[in-house]
């Protein structure tokens, strides 16, 4: 379970966030400049909140009162940014094994290859990231992040760099994977179509979570113009009226 109750000021933006994920997928939606990516950086430990507390499965990652601030590399949070950030000087296998440094080489390769195969990228191991399509890059970035068996997954605009066909395919794949893994996942997106990925949607406006709930709950009582617009553009789930 990932819990964050934090306050931070980053440039002109003032964030006050109260959010928790328990084995579910939460979509953080919001207009540009609402603080979505900043929220991810605060959770990851790249930025430091001014006040509050972040905990993951009961372990405190950050606590302004006690001064606890676990470094990024020890937080066990997987992160896939919008551009996937594959290391361009390593091949796919080099990327996928990067996070498995403490293991011996044979075990690193075995585990990385298993994840690449699971995500349908098993035939790409010796390819350079520059030779991959957007969809392949995303699969490799996910395999690299998940090979470390993280406690939660943070995705920043996971489909923004893809063409419409790859976007539809990967959104469907990711929906299936997230259901299968039951890994707490926080997905930041401004695309209403990504609402189908999530168990719950948290709407962020000007640094604050202004409304959260299931797509259906938001549909019944949209709390702001942005939410109303989001709901209108979101796909109607199967079985709904």
């Amino acid at each position: 379970m990932l819990e964050a109750r934090i306050a931070a000021r980053v440039g002109p933006l003032e964030l006050r966030i109260d959010l928790s994920l328990d084995g579910e997928t939460v979509l953080v939606a919001g207009p540009n400049g609402s603080g979505k990516s900043t929220l991810l950086r605060l959770l990851l430990g790249v930025l430091r909140p001014e006040a509050g507390r972040i905990a993951l499965d009961g372990a405190v990652l950050f606590d302004a009162e006690t001064g606890i601030d676990v470094p990024v590399e020890e937080r066990e949070l997987a992160y896939v940014p919008q551009d996937y950030a594959l290391f361009p000087h390593m091949d796919v296998l080099g990327n996928a094994t990067f996070g498995l440094a403490p293991l011996d080489r044979r075990e690193r390769v075995r585990r990385a290859t298993a994840w690449l195969e699971r995500l349908g990228a098993g035939d790409l191991v010796h390819r350079s990231p520059s030779a991959l399509s957007g969809g392949e890059r995303q699969r490799v970035a996910l395999a690299r992040a998940l090979a470390r068996t993280p406690r939660a997954l943070l995705l920043d605009e996971p489909f923004a760099s893809l063409d419409p066909i790859a976007r539809r395919q990967l959104r469907a794949s990711l929906t299936g994977w997230l259901r299968e893994w039951r890994l707490p996942a926080l997905i930041v997106s401004h695309d209403p179509a990504d609402a189908m990925l999530a168990d719950r949607i948290a709407v962020l406006e000007r640094g604050r979570v202004v409304q959260q709930g299931t797509l259906e709950e938001l549909r019944r009582a949209p709390g702001s113009d942005f939410v109303a617009g989001l709901i209108e553009a979101a796909p109607v789930p199967a079985g709904a009226d």
Binding site: E73, A78, Y79, A85, F87, H89, F98
Partner: protein, 272 residues
């Protein structure tokens, strides 16, 4: 629209380019063309050559190693932590590039000479630097560091921050992220900076002469040997100069092979 007739603007570019290239090439051509082969071979046997060549390679190699190790860490710090302190650090490290070498020599003497700011304390503890081989290394490092640091800062700034953040989330400490991601991605820029820095220290003359002197085998580097030979034998000075040019080209060639993407001087630099 393009026409077949060259415009006055196009002609001006061609004339200016031809004039500047001729001016830059002529001294190098003169070095090669005006020296008969026998005189060149004779010059190679000049007693100053071997000690000066050996000293130049030793001191420039040492100063380059110092500049690369310290300069890489400083450049990383400046590039990854923007702010007022970094701007000051960057400005201070560029100072030696605008100080005339002779002034640098006087400054080094006043800082590290026997009566210098730090030198007097060192002398009291039995350490003398001025007019020794370490003084040559210091003079070379002083004048050449800005070239490497500036290239290093630019190269490290070009490394996408997301890659470093992802490396950290994959368990890499800040040092491992630097070593495995930052350093390899900045390598072409760092090699180019190292080449420029090394070329500058190989040609260093004024600061070395004032701070380290001109003692054969101890502080007489190749440029100082050329200067000394000039006083008695122009042909020998010319042969020594050609050796210097050959050493510089050989090193640039090796560096280009090491980092094919680096924007080093010489043919083959694309998009520079």
């Amino acid at each position: 629209m393009r026409s077949g007739r060259p415009s006055a603007w196009g002609a001006a570019q061609l004339v200016a380019s031809a004039a500047l290239v001729a001016f830059l090439l002529l001294p190098v051509a003169a070095l090669v063309l005006t020296l008969p082969w026998a005189d060149f071979v004779g010059g190679l046997r000049h007693p100053l050559l071997i000690p000066a060549l050996r000293l130049s390679l030793l001191t420039t190699g040492t100063s380059l190693a110092l500049v690369v190790v310290l300069g890489s860490l400083l450049a990383w710090r400046v590039a990854r932590h923007p702010g007022r302190a970094s701007r000051w650090l960057e400005a201070i490290t560029q100072l030696p590039a605008v100080i005339p070498p002779a002034v640098a020599g006087v400054g080094l003497l006043l800082a590290f000479g026997r009566r210098g700011l730090l030198g007097s304390w060192l002398a009291a503890h039995g350490i003398a630097i001025a007019f020794t081989t370490p003084a040559v290394v210091m003079a070379e490092a002083f004048v050449s560091a800005p070239f490497f640091v500036q290239a290093g800062i630019a190269a490290f700034r070009r490394v996408d921050e997301n890659l470093l953040v992802v490396a950290r989330t994959l368990g890499a400490s800040p040092f491992r992220a630097f070593l495995r991601v930052g350093l390899p991605l900045a390598a072409p820029g760092l090699v180019a900076g190292a080449a420029m820095s090394w070329a500058r220290s190989l040609g260093e003359f004024g600061a070395t002469l004032l701070f380290a002197g001109n003692l054969t085998g101890r502080t007489q580097t190749l440029p100082l040997a050329v200067y000394t030979a000039m006083e008695s034998d122009l042909r020998a000075a010319q042969a020594l100069s050609l050796v210097m040019v050959a050493v510089a080209f050989a090193l640039l060639f090796v560096l280009r092979r090491m980092a094919p993407g680096a924007a080093l001087p010489g043919p083959g630099v694309r998009g520079a």
